[in-house]
């Protein structure tokens, strides 16, 4: 069986129309507007944190991204992996693949905003707190997942391996979190990032929730685009078989 070599697609372009039909991706436009709107609200219409000043506003990007990266993107990868191993339907693998590619973008956003926030607020670029470190390893998981996929041509084998890796990765995350948390309690450091302060005043809480929703929407929009690209690519591959 000679399969034409197709490079794994790069992360999705930000153009609002899909290449195939020229249809405009409304969801993406709505999501981008929501994110911009929330950004505006965060910057101009939400009170400033008394301790940290303006830089605290990165919180509205940092935490929603982290939430999406782990609880939406990676959870979806894990769920799709389990479903694929159970039902052997390649569509689950496509969703997992798309979710991983979009998830790595959000994870990168967390890892970029985290140090910026830390440096501006507390003077050091990196802190080994449990959450940031777990996110770092989540990023490594995603990258390993995508690199492995890139090294494999056989679709079914690639899907099976990815599913195994996805599920094992889901098992790993709590262990990393626990290990790093225990490490920190044994080696306390004066600087602690508190990304999710549950005691937010109502204004800030509202903005935070809006940010969360708009990022979630952005994730879904990007996922849909990426999934459609995967469908188109697979259809092309099947024609060539």
């Amino acid at each position: 069986m000679s399969e034409s070599v197709v490079r794994e697609s790069a992360p999705p372009a930000m153009a609002p129309s899909t290449p195939k039909t020229g249809r405009i991706e409304w969801l993406l436009i709505v999501a981008i507007l929501a994110v911009i709107g929330t950004g505006v609200r965060a910057i101009y219409f939400t009170p400033m944190d008394s301790l940290q000043g303006a830089v605290q506003k990165i919180f509205y990007v940092h935490v929603p991204s982290a939430f999406v990266a782990l609880y939406m993107a990676f959870a979806l990868v894990a769920l799709m992996s389990a479903l694929f191993l159970w039902l052997h339907d390649l569509r689950f693998d496509r969703v997992a693949e798309s979710s991983a590619e979009v998830g790595v973008i959000f994870t990168t956003a967390v890892l970029c905003t985290g140090p910026i926030w830390a440096k501006a607020a507390w003077g050091t670029w990196w802190t080994w707190d449990a959450r940031l470190t777990s996110t770092l390893f989540l990023w490594f998981m995603y990258v390993g997942y995508l690199v492995m996929r890139g090294a494999m041509q056989d679709r079914m084998m690639r899907a099976r391996y990815s599913a195994v890796l996805g599920l094992l990765g889901a098992l790993l995350i709590p262990f990393i979190h626990l290990s790093v948390y225990l490490f920190r309690t044994m080696h306390p450091r004066p600087i602690v990032l508190k990304p999710s302060a549950p005691s937010l005043p109502p204004d800030m809480l509202q903005t935070f929730l809006l940010a969360l929703c708009s990022f979630a929407l952005l994730f879904v929009a990007l996922l849909r685009i990426r999934y459609r690209m995967a469908v188109a690519r697979d259809a092309l591959l099947e024609e060539n078989d």
């Binding site: 492995m148 094992l168 626990l178």
Partner: protein
């Protein structure tokens, strides 16, 4: 019919160790790497500012991890040559037994490398391992179990891919983190003569990881085979 699960696993493990003993290349490579590593790390730090006692546990676990990876690389390459793996798959032994057999052989390999690494570090860093030796051995063993459980599975997977030598570390190292952190922290405490009660928490994490991942990887292994 065929041998039992454990019987088959032991049979396969013995076969792997016989091959390794016959060729010896992987073990020697890992040992040389371990000793070299211990020596080079010593010169990477200023001995007046950082004492050997503080350095040794970290160096030890760095060497375990990377030397272990060297051994795991070759785990499935013997099966790939001449499609020897088909010979195993066609026989009545269960797929789980194949995984366990390979993992057992890898465990022996990694433990042997650990012993050599410990001796090298003890020599170069003037360590006296007289304190808490059984506890140290327990942590070393449990850590080896964790590394081998995950490494054997990923070795089986990556041997079929293009970038096998690169992929195995890239995939495995994140999984080694919850093994290395407890083991290294506990080793540091034990070498400093701290009471055993202080490392009990780390022990629990390591045992939990081992149980979860030995089971998960054993169950996952059949899914990595084409059927």
């Amino acid at each position: 019919m065929g041998p039992s699960l454990l019987g088959a696993a032991l049979l396969i493990a013995r076969k792997d160790l016989a091959i390794e003993f016959r060729t010896r290349t992987a073990f020697f490579s890992a040992v040389v790497f371990g000793v070299l590593g211990a020596a080079i790390f010593y010169f990477a730090w200023d001995p007046t500012s950082v004492g050997a006692l503080e350095l040794a546990p970290g160096v030890l676990w760095m060497i375990f991890t990377f030397a272990g990876l060297l051994g795991l690389q070759r785990s499935f390459s013997t099966e790939l040559a001449d499609r020897a793996m088909d010979g195993l798959l066609v026989s009545p032994v269960s797929r789980e037994a194949i995984y366990m057999g390979k993992a057992l052989a890898n465990l022996v390999f990694v433990c042997a490398v650990e012993v050599v690494a410990i001796l090298a570090v003890a020599l170069f860093y003037n360590m006296s391992f007289s304190t808490h030796v059984p506890a140290l051995a327990l942590f070393a063993f449990l850590a080896a179990v964790g590394l081998v459980a995950v490494g054997t599975l990923f070795s089986a997977m990556t041997v079929n891919t293009r970038l096998a030598e690169l992929l195995l570390p890239v995939l495995s190292l994140p999984f080694f983190v919850p093994v290395v952190i407890p083991a290294a922290q506990a080793t540091a405490k034990l070498l400093a003569g701290r009471p055993l009660a202080e490392v009990a928490g780390w022990l629990k994490v390591l045992v939990a990881f081992d149980i979860v991942f030995v089971v998960a990887c054993t169950l996952a292994f059949p899914f990595t085979l084409e059927e």
